[in-house]
Symmetry: C2
Subunit: 455 residues, 2 copies
Amino acid sequence: MDALLEQLRAGLPAEALITDAEVTASYAHDMASFCDAGAPAVVVLPRTVEEVQHVMRTATALRVPVVPQGARTGLSGAANASDGCIVLSLVKMDRILEISTVDRIAVVEPGVINATLSRAVNEHGLCYPPDPSSWETCTIGGNIGTASGGLCCVKYGVTAEYVLGLEVVLADGRLLNTGRRTAKGVAGYDLTRLIVGSEGSLGIVVKAVLALRPRPPQQLALAAEFPSATAACDAVCRIMERGHTPSLLELMDRTTVRAVNATASMGLPESTEALLLCAFDTPDPAADLAAVGALCREAGATEVVPAESAAESELLLQARRLSLPAMETLKPATMIDDVCVPRSRLGAMIEGTAAIAEKFGLTIGVVAHAGDGNTHPVVCFDHTDADESRRARESFDEIMALGLGLGGTITGEHGVGVLKREWLARELGEVGVELQRGIKAAFDPLGLLNPGKLF
Amino acid sequence: MDALLEQLRAGLPAEALITDAEVTASYAHDMASFCDAGAPAVVVLPRTVEEVQHVMRTATALRVPVVPQGARTGLSGAANASDGCIVLSLVKMDRILEISTVDRIAVVEPGVINATLSRAVNEHGLCYPPDPSSWETCTIGGNIGTASGGLCCVKYGVTAEYVLGLEVVLADGRLLNTGRRTAKGVAGYDLTRLIVGSEGSLGIVVKAVLALRPRPPQQLALAAEFPSATAACDAVCRIMERGHTPSLLELMDRTTVRAVNATASMGLPESTEALLLCAFDTPDPAADLAAVGALCREAGATEVVPAESAAESELLLQARRLSLPAMETLKPATMIDDVCVPRSRLGAMIEGTAAIAEKFGLTIGVVAHAGDGNTHPVVCFDHTDADESRRARESFDEIMALGLGLGGTITGEHGVGVLKREWLARELGEVGVELQRGIKAAFDPLGLLNPGKLF
């Protein structure tokens, strides 16, 4: 321990090191429930690539595990500390280094906040689409680590699709450059994409070249009420089958709608069984919404309310964004799942989840990126009640099993981390896990980077 | 050799094996110049996953290298045989297994022809965008192996962005499933993306889940004449900077335009120094073309001719597609390069290429996916003239060095193969190549899959 601090101090300014146990304990975990976290030996907050290299060289020399962190808004425990580790927080490396309107790229450090980047590129008439719910606080480095998604994905895709190139400090402190600044490039294996979503287990991202898009027109949304979640899912299938490209297509179930109303009196219809929100940022969004509204009615919608202005649309989106905080008020604790199924199976997924809730006697609200088939069942429970906690955990597992059975994945956008580690092999199979371990060994032969995560 | 044939025969029908030396020789190489090719021991044409597994088990047991092939339309020698290898041609595995309009996916075998798939999904109102020039003959498996691009990439991206999941036979014959059928998914390292573009060096793709898009409206094109390639590149920058999203943005230089005229009397303007083709498949393409036409004039275009119909647009595209065949008539041999630079450096790339042509006393025509900064300088030479051949090869190398110097990549879409193997390390650096080798070893410890390619 003394040797560790001494060696770290040799290459870091004093203010980059935190050793006070109370403070380091506050860096122990991200926002996931049911995930073990250890006590870090030290928290380091480097400001330069060289400082990160120094940390990794020290860690390698002394065989100390390193847990990289962004804003710790993750939902899988991927940023949780292990006992005696170095927590390597990248939040101080927060410069936007370049924005190019001709090349449509931004070059950023990992600690840049998602919303800060979004606003900065907006001023140049550009857009960085990935918008996880935590976008006001989460970092680009964290987004890259977890390959995070958001509301925009149904039209614009996930973080992975916006990462063109990376500068990465390896476990032994060497610097790796991956990818490119160009629109296209196929020189060798795609190491960039391998590192995106690797949850800090292959290297420390210290710089990223991100693709940008022209800023789209402001989106216009509608809300449609359905007599059942099944009918709402049917509408989702019709919308996608007819070739529409909404910029947002979200579903809130009855539990979610009521929780949001109770929290913020947004005036959502209390009686609805499922609310579908759909938006377009096309040249003529009103026409697109009219077509989608008709499809919703065909699928059984009892009410279709198009927003008449961008401001009204924004209110609907706020209701959606409140879903998780609102459900957190229902019970002392929540576990948020993240199963993604083919959208044709969305109805079966939501019905199956309701059956699981009933089986375990639990409240499980579902909010979903419906256009992507990506559901977020939120298991609400009292963590001080041992039996309820057990049932919560069991229902969480059954939801994953249900998703796999429907041809889906255990995680659409939150990642594996600690939370779903035991489930990864069930999805990937033995051969897949063996190869993943082989890749890990090629990058990090001593196993120092974020041990105990993923597999 | 006898043992090899005997063991192969034990698990393959007779018609799946070709041993006639004259016929196997015809499988020795793809369409790249200047690439060594050996003599295969045998060509196998399996029809099932089990047959592919049998081939790989046999290869592993006997330590025989395997070279996977599609239609051999590649341009980097990545499909070239090595002496005594098994050529594993996937062209007989050519079934489209599924098309889902709700999930917007297709599930295909690797031997499906790109154009066959495109037409099949079109009938369902869907679109599979990747469109390499060879799309009428090349296979999806080959497209995946080389991560190929095409004309549509400026709006719709490359093959890699459309591959959601893969079924892969590993070097030892085991089956690996990667990725997903869902719109999103982040369970573990992205092995799908790792295999796309790996040029058959990590495994044999036997099935692919591909993402589809709604079929866009037919595109409308314009042609703009410029007094210099620099002015045309300036127009490209203005178009992209103003936030336009053309479905095609191609540049043909003076050499290319004249070659096309000489081949097919397409009536292109002989006097032009550079021709820019731009198309939109938006709801109002005429309006978008008018805006782009104005930007072209600002950049110095002497003539802007918008097509008045889809048929006229198609004629312009045909002229573009004729570029390579037309340049092949200029000299007995050609080498096509594939350097991609940030689009802001496109002008410098094209000027630099002209200087290289002059320095070596060669004809080098340039056709470019201008919107992506992806140039195809075509070095025309007489391969029976030793000195001209040497100059051709040297100019080819200088073009790559120029591209790297401008912040670009040695290959935007054709891949590394044999042709650019010596250049890969210059782009990736030592650390990058070391990690790529580590990954290769994790997948193929005996080094049997497509040896001598990439690195």
